[in-house]
Structure formats: C-alpha cells, structure tokens
C-alpha cells in the first residue's frame, strides 16, 4: 500500500503530541543516519532509530507498532553523537507514552517467570515499571 502524505498528517494531533511530550523539534533531524550507525542495540531492532524519527516526521502512526521504541535502552549514545542535537531517547519515550496511554502495558508482571524476578536487580524492575507499564 502506498503511504499517503498530506498536510493533515504532517500537522496531526499525533505529531503535535510527540513534539510536545518529547520537547523535540522533529524537523531538526536531517536523516543523516548517525544515530542508527552507532546505536548498540540497533541490530536487535525491527526499524532503525533514524527511521523511527522519520516516520514520526511524516505523521505515520504505524511507528507505534515498532519494537524499536521498546528495545531502545535510553543509553544516550545517539544523543551524544547527533549532529543536529536531537534527543532521540526522549522521542522514544514520547512514543512509548503515547502507545501506553492508548493501549495495554508492554509487560504483564504476573507472567514474569519467578526465577527471573528473583535474579533481576531491583533497579531493572523499577526501571521496567516506568518504561513498560501503563
């Protein structure tokens, strides 16, 4: 299917929300790809970090279905390297937030294996609450 591009999509509520929650100017990104080039977990992602911001620029809400926004470790490597000063993890956070507000939690606590829970550092569990739970 052809993706349509239109003013309505470029200026949609979705784009406004992403910009407002993240505090980032989406069009500041000129798609150089450096974030994707250096991201330590890019290989595990279904979509490159630079493609996530690209889809947000184009108002493509399908980006919310991407695994990338959950896999991003907020390590800030891309922030340190971005030539245009874009804070990509803030954008990832905004997309997760929009996704969580409109849908379900990403992890179900009750279904975490007890062995894993016993082994996980507390910090990881608290962090996980913040990141993955509604």
């Amino acid at each position: 299917m052809r993706t349509t591009i239109s003013v309505a999509k470029l200026r949609s509520q979705f784009v406004r929300d992403v910009e407002e929650i993240s505090g980032e100017d989406l069009l500041a990104c000129n798609q150089c790809g450096k974030c994707s080039a250096g991201c330590p977990v890019a290989a595990a992602m279904d979509m490159l970090p630079s493609q996530v911001i690209r889809m947000a620029q184009l108002g493509m809400t399908e980006v919310l279905q991407s695994r990338t926004i959950w896999i991003c470790a907020s390590c800030l490597t891309c922030v340190a390297r971005c030539p245009k000063g874009v804070d990509l993890p803030r954008l990832m956070e905004a997309l997760r937030e929009i996704s969580l507000r409109s849908g379900a939690s990403e992890i179900d606590l009750d279904r975490l294996p007890p062995d894993l829970v016993r082994e996980l550092p507390q910090l990881a569990i608290v962090g996980g609450f913040r990141k993955y739970i509604k």
């Binding site: 349509t4 591009i5 470029l10 069009l27 493609q51 184009l58």
Partner: protein
C-alpha cells in the same frame, strides 16, 4: 668548426640512477664540434644555470645542448639562461634523456647509457645547424567582443570596458539580462533579481566603451588571437568587427517540459518548471489551471538531470538551491501552505548554502522526501505525485495543487553551431570545453577565445560573475602586452621551389596556409602555424619548411645514429 657545450643533468636520481652520466659527458666531450661537456645534479637550479652561463663565456661556446628532461618542461628556462649569456636562444636545444630514456629503461643501465649518448649525438648535430632566430612580434587589436548579454556577458564586458578597452557586446535578443531577468529573487538573501539586474544593464548601456548590438548573431570568425575579424549578422545585414579577443557567454536554455511525459510535462497545466514558478512568484502565485493560490506545492528535483537514460547525465547544480529558495518564498506568501521537495540528494556546496537549505527545513517546515518521483497524473482538480521515501522504505502518494519541476539546464540551443563558427570545442551536450579543467578553466582551446557563464557548464550567479571577471582578466592581460610574441620556429615557404599546387593548404589543420592572391606561391600565417609539420610532409616540391627543422638538420641527426 662549431663550439658546442653539452650539459648533462642528473635530475637528482631520476636520470643518474639509470644513466651513467659521467660516461655520457666523456663521450659527448669527444663528439666533433663539442668544445665542452660536463654533468651536474640539477641543471635547472640557479647554480646549474650559472654553470651554463659561465661555460659559454669561458669556452666561447656558440651552441648549447642541455641533456635533461622534456623540452616541454624546461626549454624556456634554458633558452633564457643562454640568452642572458649573450647567445641566441634558438641555438640552445634540449636532449630528452629522462622521459624518453631513464624513466623507460630503469633496469637497463648499459643500454640506457648508450641510448643517452645517441640522443646527445643527434641534438649536437641539430644545434650545429640551428639558425639564430628572433621571436615574432604581431600587433594586437585592443578591442574585445562579448557574445551573449546575460549576467555573464555583461559582467565580462563591464570589466574589460572599465580597464579602458572598447567592447562590442553581441546579443541575439532585443534586451539584456538573459535568464536572470526572469528570476524573482536570488538566494541567499532574497535580493530581488530585477533590481540587481537593472543596475547592471544601466551600467552597460551607459558605458562609453561598450557598444551593444541587439538582435545580432555571430556567423563567422577569421584570423587569430589579437587579430580576429568577426562577422555579425543583423537585420540591417552583415557587418565585420575587428577584435583581438572574444568572450563567449551564451548561457543556457530550459529543458523542454514535453521531454518529461511521465511527469505530465506539457500536458498537465499545473505542472510547471522552475523558471515559470519564478515568474509566478513575481506576479501573484496563481496556478495556471484555475488561478487559485496553491495550498500544497510539490517540488521535484533532478527533473531531467542525473538521468542518463531519459535526460542528461549531469547535475544542473543550481536547482537544489533555488528549490529551497522558492519553497521558502512560497511559504512567505502562503503562510498556511505546505511545500514538499522530492530529492535524490541535496547539493548545497558553497558558503552558507547548506545552512540555507537547513533553514528551509527547520524554519519553513519544508518537507524533504528522499527519492526521485516516478509518475505525476491528474485526479480531479489536483495533481497526484507518486514518489518514495527511501529513508523509511515506503512508496508515497501525495496530492498537490501545483507541481514545480526543477528541470535541467541545457546549453543555449545555438551553442553547438556557435562552437563550430568560433572553432572551439564543446562536449556532447553543447557546453563549451575549457582548455584545462583545473588550470585553464576560462580559456577555450583556441587562443584568444574565452568562456564565461553557464555556456561552459551549469553554475549559479556568483560563480558566473566570478568566471566572467576571470575571463575579462584574461582579455585584459592579453591587451596589456605591447605585441603578441610568437615562437619563430614556424613553417615558411621557399618561393622558388613552390608551384602553388595547394597541397599544404589542404592539409594544414590550423588554416595557416593560403595561396597568395596574386603571386603563384603558398603563404604561411605564422600567427596560426602550430609547427605540426603536416605541410612539410605534404609538399611534393620540398618548398615547405620549418625554421630549425630543416631537412639538412634532420638528415644529419639521422646520419649519426644509423
């Protein structure tokens, strides 16, 4: 008996590592007519040259052979050196034992040395028979012609005229300014093009040294640098202008929209080219079909450019920049509107240029989409664009009110014919060829014909102005000489032997030969002769000769080695 000096250069190790220079010197010293022979590390250095000058004085030398590199490299250096010691410079020759010996025989020291000795032998024989010659001095007509009255031609004309030389400016239209007269404003500062241009046009028309010929075309160029006769065709009939130099500044023509059928070019009224959009920006931004102000505008970059299969293979160089300019100007006029730009990549090299494009993206929210558009068609009163965004990897569809094709710049449609008329080269598209892509970018291969503006290749106004000023500087440099100095080693005719058969006239590739209008002989125009020797070979009567390449010399040179 001649008193020849032979000076063998080591060229550091370039020659000495392969050729036994000491032995060459010894052998040379024994050659008949040689009064002195020596070798030295670098003959072209100051100590090397003064060694030659001293030897001329000490040994009373009457000829010199410098055994070193190619004459293309240092012939002039050494001829000047011997002239400083009072010898006629044409009694100095170079024997090339570097390019033609040491470099090509690096692992054959014995053979290379023997070959070097033979090369020296031949040049000694030549110098013995060299005439004392004097460089030719030809008069210069200090008046220039500029062909094309766009910004390039006007700039060149003004610079030459301001230096005090008269200029005749030939323009095919009935007005000056070229394509710039159709622009709205110019990047980077949005300065209005008509304002910038009006001032220039006024300066040209009011300049006491500039004569403008409107509705005029150049149809013939005869003569040579410093002395051209140019025929200009006008409605009143042809006229001949005597000039010393010509600047060609015939600019460009837009790519025909009809050659972009997949983009609806020439079929969909709301698909226009960049130049038309410039005019729309000046006159009120109404789209052609129904006069409405477009709310969504799509710009398609590289339309016809960078497309060797359907269009031209080159990049038109200015469109990335003017599209950003047009998109921003559009947003200024229609604040609620949206501009989209499809691009392959953005070429914004130049001071402040990339920042300018970034401004379009960040401050004017112009949406850049990476991918060349494949198809444009009508849907109702809108225009649908099929493109892609290779960054997310999706095919795209976009409905717009107006599409602007940033079409390729083609050389002026008359460029190829004019190139023939002016005896200059052009590439396959018709852009004039420069004499050297790096070191002689404003000269053509024909001495005295210079290039400026888009006629030589796509460029924007600042670059055009710079090139035009450079071409003007070349003209002024030429006019500043008191005479054209020309090498005297050109062809001449022994009148008693010539039967006026015309064989030489037919073979001369430079048009230097003519049959005398009255007397039964061929003549040589030394200003045009390039010493190629074609006439010498062609002449059945041995009447055609070249100074210092006489048959006796060539035969003597051959005799000593075979």
């Amino acid at each position: 008996m001649s008193r020849i000096g032979v000076f063998i250069c080591h060229c550091g190790i370039n020659i000495a590592a392969t050729v036994d220079v000491e032995r060459v010197a010894e052998e040379a010293g024994r050659m008949p007519g040689v009064a002195f022979a020596t070798h030295y590390k670098y003959m072209c250095s100051d100590p090397g040259q003064s060694l030659i000058r001293q030897a001329i004085a000490e040994h009373g030398l009457d000829g010199v052979v410098v055994v070193a590199c190619s004459p293309a490299m240092h012939e002039r250096t050494f001829r000047q050196a011997v002239a400083a010691a009072g010898l006629n410079p044409y009694r100095c020759e170079m024997a090339n034992i570097r390019e033609q010996c040491s470099w090509v025989h690096q692992h054959e020291r014995e053979e290379a040395t023997a070959k070097a000795v033979d090369i020296v032998r031949t040049m000694v024989e030549k110098v013995k028979r060299d005439e004392e010659l004097v460089p030719l001095r030809l008069p210069i007509v200090r008046r220039a012609m500029v062909v094309g009255g766009g910004i390039a031609g006007m700039e060149a004309a003004l610079n030459i005229a301001d230096a005090g030389y008269p200029v005749v400016l030939v323009e095919r239209e009935d007005r000056l300014g070229g394509k710039m007269a159709r622009l709205s404003s110019t990047y980077l500062n949005f300065e209005a093009a008509p304002g910038l241009l009006e001032e220039k046009i006024r300066q040209v028309l009011e300049h006491s040294n500039i004569q403008v010929l409107f509705n005029a075309r150049v149809t013939k160029l005869e003569g040579y640098v410093g002395n051209f006769a140019v025929t200009v065709e006008m409605s009143e009939g042809p006229r001949t202008e005597e000039v010393g130099a010509v600047v060609v500044a015939t600019g460009w023509d837009p790519y025909p929209l009809e050659r972009l059928p997949e983009y609806g070019g020439g079929q969909i009224p709301d698909v226009v080219d960049g130049l038309t959009f410039e005019e729309m920006l000046r006159t009120g931004l109404q789209r052609p079909s129904d006069g409405r102000v477009p709310q969504e505008v799509v710009f398609v970059q590289c339309a016809g450019s960078r497309d060797p299969e359907h269009g031209v293979s080159y990049c038109s160089k200015v469109c990335c920049m003017y599209v950003a300019k047009q998109a921003m100007m559009y947003k200024e006029r229609v604040p609620g509107g949206q501009a989209y730009v499809f691009y392959i990549d953005i070429r914004s090299g130049g001071k402040g240029y990339d920042e300018f494009v970034q401004r379009a993206m960040e401050e004017y929210d112009v949406l850049y989409l990476r991918g060349k558009v494949s198809k444009i068609f009508r849907r109702g009163d809108r225009v649908v664009v099929w493109g892609s965004d290779t960054l997310v990897g999706r095919p795209l569809e976009l409905e717009a009110d107006l599409v602007v094709l940033a079409t390729a710049m083609l050389p002026s449609r008359e460029a190829l014919a004019l190139a023939q008329t002016l005896h200059i080269q052009a590439d396959q598209y018709g852009f004039y060829s420069e004499a050297h892509p790096k070191l002689r970018p404003v000269e053509s291969l024909t001495a005295g014909v210079f290039l400026a503006g888009v006629g030589q290749g796509p460029k924007d106004i600042p670059e055009t102005v710079a090139q035009a000023a450079a071409a003007a500087a070349k003209v002024i440099q030429l006019f500043a000489q008191d005479a054209m100095v020309q090498e005297p080693t050109v062809a001449y005719v022994i009148e008693d032997l010539c039967s006026a058969c015309g064989a030489c006239v037919a073979v001369c590739p430079y048009g230097a030969r003519e049959i005398h209008p009255v007397r039964p002989i061929a003549t040589v125009n030394p200003a045009l002769c390039q010493t190629c020797g074609a006439c010498v070979v062609a002449c059945p009567n041995k009447a055609s000769r070249i100074h210092n390449w006489e048959p006796v010399q060539v035969l003597a040179m051959a005799d000593v080695v075979i």
